[in-house]
């Protein structure tokens, strides 16, 4: 993958707007102010740190963080599922916190640190949660897996940080990485194949090793 992604014209911008869209993309950003809102795409510069590297590019303001990762930065590990925050396939970490990248605009992440599944680990250098998913067969088709793993890593962090959940009995005590706690906290990540019990085993494995 080329790292020269600075100010690439995105495939999406050209496809979405056809010839007109391509023409608009060529206009310098500063000239966009003259275009009446609601009639043509509005472009904006954005720079963020993705998986430890600074990335700067120009996007249509409508571009979600999810689409920017996949289409501007070619980081296709993050998956588009429902595109409405309901399935969790697009889960990434922003400044260490898990979010649905489909419900966030790229332009809102100026200066943020984004970690995707590619940034957690690589095939020759797996993150412990990635290794545990493989060991416990925590996937079938694999489509939801990047989101599940990003979420799983964040869930253990949330439990450690004392963030309460719907199943936390005592609000004033520290939550623990119990099966109930992990299940509840993973409810924003849907797996249509139903690999849930193996995902839980993978998470429990990592939680145990950390404890």
């Amino acid at each position: 993958m080329s790292d020269s992604g600075e100010f690439d014209v995105s495939r999406r911008a050209i496809l979405a707007g056809g010839a007109a869209g391509a023409a608009v993309v060529a206009v310098p950003v500063t000239a966009q102010a003259a275009v009446p809102p609601g009639t043509a795409p509005s472009m904006a510069k954005v720079a963020m740190e993705v998986n430890g590297k600074r990335r700067a590019f120009v996007v249509d303001t409508r571009t979600t963080l999810l689409d920017a990762l996949r289409e501007n930065l070619q980081l296709t590990g993050t998956k588009k599922g429902c595109d409405h925050g309901q399935c969790g396939a697009c889960t990434v970490l922003v400044d260490g916190v898990r979010i649905n990248s489909c419900l966030s605009l790229a332009v809102m992440h100026q200066g943020d640190k984004v970690t995707t599944i590619e940034g957690l680990g690589q095939p020759d250098d797996l993150h412990p949660m990635q290794a545990a998913f493989i060991k416990h067969d925590g996937y079938q088709c694999g489509y939801c897996t990047p989101g599940q793993i990003c979420s799983a890593v964040a869930v253990l962090g949330e439990i450690k940080a004392g963030v309460p959940s719907h199943v936390t009995d005592d609000l004033t005590a520290r939550p623990t990485a119990s099966n109930d706690e992990m299940r509840e906290r993973m409810s924003g990540n849907i797996c249509r194949c139903g690999a849930y019990s193996n995902i839980l085993e993978a998470m429990a494995d990592v939680a145990e090793k950390r404890a």
């Binding site: 898990r98 719907h166 509840e184 924003g188």
Partner: protein, 316 residues
């Protein structure tokens, strides 16, 4: 999504002024509800004012012993705050009963108050909906209304306010602090913040054009046993059919507010006088004047049973 221009606001007052002078502008913070609606073109702002950098993300004590919650405090940070967990447990409980971890990490206090209804006819742009398109009619009346309002509704709209956090804030007598485009601030008791639909259901709240929420204040802690009981079609990550926020004192007195039944968190202070007599007595006054549909008449009974369950839990 329709194209829109985008700008980051520098101060709350500047954001409010920009919203007033820019046609069809919207504030955006977490974006978890607004972007969802923009993708469906239910919302189509021409300009977004990003208020995310306004540093309204702190929770601090107030001189009278309460808490001031910045408008941009995330749901996760609010539910996790040690003061909230200790003194306003019903609020922590309500927040973690809603949405998913990912959404709560992004959703903000002010944005949560402003989230729009989940009425299926509001979401389906092929259907008439007076809230989405004023004067177009209401497909929910006579439609699939199992999840919809049983009280406070009108012939124009039977949508519910979908959130959990606001139900707890209602029982705690929270106050919404705002700044208007002319720089003047005001305090709106949460009881008055969300509107009943009447014949203008497209207007969800009493906020004026350009008015920006800056914080929500909680009065000093009221003690008691604090419970949030949510009844829904699955155990997690679903909106409430009915929810009850309750603060019950040792002597059996207390406060209750109900979610999932009306256009706003539903609280009837006069009904609370009946708390020592039990759920049936409270419910009779709380739900007086209910106008359920055939599909959702069960909610009136469900409120009573959820109340009974919460009161039993409070007794220990």
């Amino acid at each position: 999504m329709k194209p829109f221009t985008y700008n980051r606001a520098s101060t709350p007052a500047a954001a409010a002024a920009e919203a007033l002078r820019t046609p069809n502008a919207k504030f955006i913070a977490g974006g978890t509800n607004l972007l969802d609606l923009m993708k469906l073109q239910i919302e189509a702002p021409a300009h977004l004012i990003d208020v995310g950098g306004l540093k309204l993300d702190r929770i601090e004590g107030t001189p009278d012993g309460g808490l001031r919650i910045g408008a941009l405090v995330t749901n996760t940070n609010l539910a996790s705050d040690t003061r909230v967990r200790r003194d306003y447990g019903v609020l922590s409980r309500a927040i973690v009963a809603g949405a998913s971890g990912q959404l709560r990490n992004k959703a903000t206090t002010a944005g949560n108050l402003l989230q729009r209804t989940r009425c299926p006819y509001f979401y389906d742009t092929n259907q008439p909906c007076n809230k989405r398109k004023p004067g177009s009619g209401c497909a929910a009346l006579g439609g699939y209304s199992r999840q919809l309002a049983v009280i406070g509704s009108s012939d124009a709209c039977i949508a519910t306010y979908p959130g959990d956090m606001a139900v707890a804030m209602r029982v705690l007598d929270a106050v919404v602090e705002t700044v208007q485009p002319d720089g003047i601030t005001r305090s709106i008791p949460i009881a008055d913040f969300h509107r009943l639909p009447g014949d203008t259901p497209h207007i969800d709240t009493v906020l004026k054009r350009g008015e920006l929420i800056t914080s929500v204040t909680l009065p000093k802690p009221i003690g008691g046993t604090q419970i949030y009981r949510k009844v829904r079609d699955r155990a997690s990550y679903a909106f409430a059919l009915v929810s009850v926020a309750a603060v019950v004192q040792r002597d059996g007195t207390g406060r209750v507010a109900v979610g999932g039944v009306a256009h706003k968190p539903w609280r009837v202070e006069a009904a609370e006088a009946a708390l020592p007599q039990g759920a049936q007595a409270v419910n009779a006054r709380l739900m007086a004047g209910a106008r359920p549909t055939q599909d959702n008449a069960f909610k009136v009974t469900l409120v009573e049973r959820t109340l009974a369950s919460a009161l039993a839990e409070a007794k220990g």
